[in-house]
């Protein structure tokens, strides 16, 4: 069938500047640039990954949106029409990658942070300690001591805790969805920064053996790569029930991505599709989840905290309460803007709820039930900047996870074509010639720089708030004010409107 789909982008090549070095041709992994007697563009193939433009030594390439010349309409937008054309030609589900780009409210941007003036001095982070350390894991309600005060000792034995030097963790992204070099960069950065990376559901590659104390291993519905060695080679274990980008949806790694290495890591034959079912087929109730949590605890000799990851959905607060009561040490909530390697567009863009509202509801519910201490809360789903981290912690999170932001730090241009496996930046691909483009050391440096920068920014905000420990921010909603939000939204977030004092 002849495609009626217009090109999304137009690649302009300035032939006066171009010296025909062909670097752009070599760099384009989507076959959008060819060389005949000069560089020519196949606009329909361009995904705006910007690899060619970035590496052109003459700055001869620019990429612009194709104006389409469709009549503009708010209702029948170009995107809606493009999708109809795609489905009219394919008869299939529209797949997509990365996070939900639709213009739902971003509540982070409607919350403002307090600062001290006069009576309560702000603190200068350059001169005073400003503590970002936090610990993930279940805490008891109270501590018990024994002995007299001169020879006192702790009677309570705490559940296992994982130390984070910065309250930001790299999100779950599987080996398969992203490259081994990307995984290595994340692991190296996590170790250097005293935080964690998450294997996602792809298993743990043997090259990451030296980093296991900084790795979250994931147990997803496909159980790929899950062995007792895998579970024990970790800082903590995460059971993935849901993912923000695709709540209620399983995963699918196409067989063509399953090469020797992935086959070994995932424990599946080369070339077979890796299908993670939508549900865990041994979990159909909270009691089943509890059994898996304790099976993992038994396997790891109660030395690893167990996390349960869920997508932010309408009833998330009650679900999280059940998860904590089922024995989870950490609840990870992923908002509807969370990234993905591949998801049906209809799910990514329309299913789930924003992380800001989910987090506020979960923290409230756990407090109402008096069980907030029993689990740490991790949140993700489009944490874009340090301010988002600060606001999330003030709403009640222990720490945040970053996926897309960490990929961007490594070079990702959010072209949303992860599912094609052609990532020109060597991140969301398994093609050796593309994977090579990402140097793990350089990637790790960039990730460390990002976390270092955000860490300094968080310290600055803490100083302006007149506090010098992150635990004094955690759940301190009094220090947030809403702007331009309805009363109902403010009530859910548990914050006052700007202009209201204490």
């Amino acid at each position: 069938m002849e495609s009626q789909l217009p090109a999304e982008f137009i690649v302009n090549i300035n032939h006066e500047r171009c010296r025909k070095c062909k670097r752009c041709v070599i760099n384009c992994s989507f076959s959008a640039i060819e060389f005949k007697d000069k560089v020519t563009a196949n606009n329909r193939q361009c995904v705006a990954c910007h690899r060619c433009a970035t590496f052109c030594p003459e700055n001869a390439i620019t990429i612009i949106h194709n104006p389409l010349d469709y009549k503009d309409g708010y209702n029948w937008s170009p995107e809606i029409r493009k999708n109809i054309l795609k489905q009219a030609e394919s008869g299939g589900i529209i797949l997509t990658g990365m996070g939900n780009p639709r213009p739902y409210p971003i509540y982070w941007d409607h919350m403002l942070i307090d600062a001290c003036q006069v009576t309560n001095p702000s603190i200068d982070p350059l001169r005073e300690p400003m503590e970002l350390r936090t610990y993930l894991g279940a805490k008891p309600e109270a501590l018990e001591f024994e002995g007299d005060i001169d020879n006192i000792s702790l009677k309570t034995e705490l559940a296992p805790q994982v130390k984070l030097d910065i309250p930001i963790v790299f999100a779950a992204m599987s080996y398969g969805a992203i490259s081994l070099n990307a995984h290595k960069a994340l692991a190296m950065a996590a170790k250097r920064m005293g935080t964690l990376m998450n294997t996602g559901e792809g298993g743990l590659h043997e090259d990451l053996a030296g980093y296991t104390d900084r790795i979250i291993v994931q147990v997803a519905s496909g159980r790929f790569g899950v062995t007792s060695k895998y579970l024990n080679n970790s800082a903590l274990v995460e059971i993935k029930i849901g993912q923000g980008a695709k709540p209620g949806i399983g995963g699918h790694l196409p067989g063509e991505k399953v090469g020797e290495d992935i086959s070994k890591t995932r424990m599946i034959p080369v070339g077979t599709d890796a299908l993670s079912p939508a549900p865990h087929h041994d979990i159909y109730s909270i009691e089943d989840l509890s059994q898996l949590i304790y099976a993992i605890k038994e396997t790891t000799d109660y030395k690893k905290p167990v996390s349960v990851k869920i997508a932010a959905v309408h009833n998330v607060a009650a679900i999280a309460s059940g998860i904590v009561r089922a024995g989870a040490d950490i609840v990870m909530i992923d908002g509807f803007r969370g990234g993905t390697g591949a998801a049906p567009m209809v799910i990514r863009d329309h299913v789930g709820i924003p992380i800001e509202l989910a987090l506020a509801a979960v923290d409230d519910r756990l407090r109402q039930e008096g069980i907030r201490n029993r689990a740490s809360i991790l949140v993700g789903g489009s944490i874009r900047q340090s301010a988002d981290v600060v606001k999330a912690i003030a709403l009640g999170a222990d720490a945040c996870v970053i996926g897309t932001a960490s990929l961007i730090a490594m070079g990702c241009r959010v072209c949303q074509k992860c599912y094609t496996g052609n990532c020109a930046w060597g991140i969301a691909t398994q093609k050796p010639e593309l994977v090579r483009r990402l140097n793990p050391e350089v990637g790790a440096d960039r990730l460390c720089n990002l976390l270092t920068a955000w860490g300094h920014e968080i310290q600055e905000v803490l100083g302006s708030l007149g506090i010098n420990a992150i635990e004094s921010l955690r759940g301190s909603r009094e220090r947030l004010r809403g702007v331009g939000l309805s009363q109902e939204t403010l009530d859910i977030l548990g914050i006052k409107h700007a202009g209201i004092g204490q």
Binding site: R372, G466, N468, G475
Partner: protein, 358 residues
């Protein structure tokens, strides 16, 4: 007043005889009056321990009522919830600088045994205090401990002290406060000390972690309705020491925890405890500027914030422990001291009764 400076900061002063000797109220008034310029006339108050030896096993409720209806409602409430041994007006005298006092009345109460089927006696009293604050309009519990009481109001502390005729009381612990309110209005209930059961707190500073401290306490059933950050400190000690049974030293360590850099250098046993305290009680960490004096039936605790954003001086003379915002306030009442020091940031000072006190 000359306008060449901004008087600021609040003032605290406390004294204790560790031998349990009782000291007349005039002494503490002299001490706090020495720091007159640290207050602005919108709040002053005192806590005194050992003042009701004849009824030392009863809960002495110091009440403030906005009107007679509130008093009647509260008395009905007391009849239903306690055995009332005695009630009387709290003696006061007209005093310049003190205006519009509420009705001030005190009640000596016992908890009927049949009320304690599911609750400890102290939990019962705590719940009662919260209930009065949240349910009886115009009634406010200034203090609810045994053999102790809080005397507070709107005015300069020395005027409040005279108003309550504190010269007629003698106590083995006195704490006092002069208030320079910033965040919350000057109202009678809002003056320091803040109390619950035997705990009393006077505070110089501002708690910037109030939001999370409050939310944490609410998880354990505390209702915070007094529009002040100081309230959390009294409740925090009640939770950690009375309910969670932490040694008072460990409770102080949770509230003003050592920095991680210092914890990392501790020897292993101490380190293990310090880490566990921060892990479990992170939400009780008090942040922001504070110097506080906490009174309780067995002693007095002085505590500064972790980077010493508010002043505090401590001193000893024989069996006496003194603490105040300024050394002058101590020298005013005890010119000849054995030892004077400025406690390190975050390092508590403890005064402890050496024997039983009637």
């Amino acid at each position: 007043m000359k306008s060449d400076g901004i008087p600021s900061g609040c003032a605290i002063s406390g004294l204790m005889s560790e031998d349990g000797r009782r000291i007349g109220g005039k002494v503490i008034i002299r001490s706090i009056a020495c720091m007159h310029d640290r207050s602005n006339g919108l709040g002053g108050g005192f806590a005194a321990y050992g003042i009701y030896p004849k009824r030392k096993d009863m809960y002495a409720f110091h009440m403030m009522f906005d009107n007679m209806q509130a008093k009647e409602n509260t008395e009905e409430f007391f009849k239903d919830h306690f055995n009332v041994d005695k009630d009387e007006a709290i003696p006061t005298q007209r005093q310049n600088g003190v205006s519009n006092p509420p009705i001030l009345w005190r009640y000596f109460l016992e908890v009927p045994e049949n009320k304690l089927e599911f609750l400890s006696e102290r939990d019962y009293v705590t719940k009662t205090v919260m209930k009065i604050h949240s349910e009886i309009d115009g009634a406010f519990v200034a203090s609810s401990g045994m053999n102790m009481g809080a005397f507070k109001g709107v005015g300069y502390p020395e005027d409040i002290g005279s108003f309550y005729k504190l010269e007629d009381y003698s106590a083995y612990i006195w704490t006092s406060h002069g208030r320079f309110p910033t965040n919350t209005p000057g109202w009678w209930g809002g003056a320091h000390p803040f109390t619950l059961l035997d705990w009393s707190v006077v505070h110089n500073g501002e708690i910037s972690s109030y939001g999370i401290n409050k939310r944490y306490l609410e998880m354990f059933g505390y209702k915070l309705e007094l529009r002040t950050d100081t309230e959390v400190i009294a409740y925090m000690f009640d939770l950690l020491v009375r309910k969670h049974k932490l040694p008072v030293e460990k409770a102080a360590e949770a509230l003003a925890a050592p920095f991680w850099k210092d914890i990392d250098r501790m020897e292993s046993q101490k380190k293990k405890i310090a880490i566990a305290l921060r892990q479990v009680y992170g939400s009780t960490l008090l942040n922001g500027p504070f110097s506080i004096i906490i009174g309780h039936n067995r002693g007095m605790i002085g505590l500064n914030d972790r980077i010493k954003l508010r002043p505090m001086t401590a001193a000893r003379k024989d069996d006496m422990l003194y603490m105040a915002s300024e050394e002058s306030a101590i020298r005013e009442i005890a010119p000849d001291l054995d030892e004077v020091w400025s406690p390190m940031a975050g390092t508590p000072v403890f005064g402890t009764l050496k024997a039983e006190v009637e």
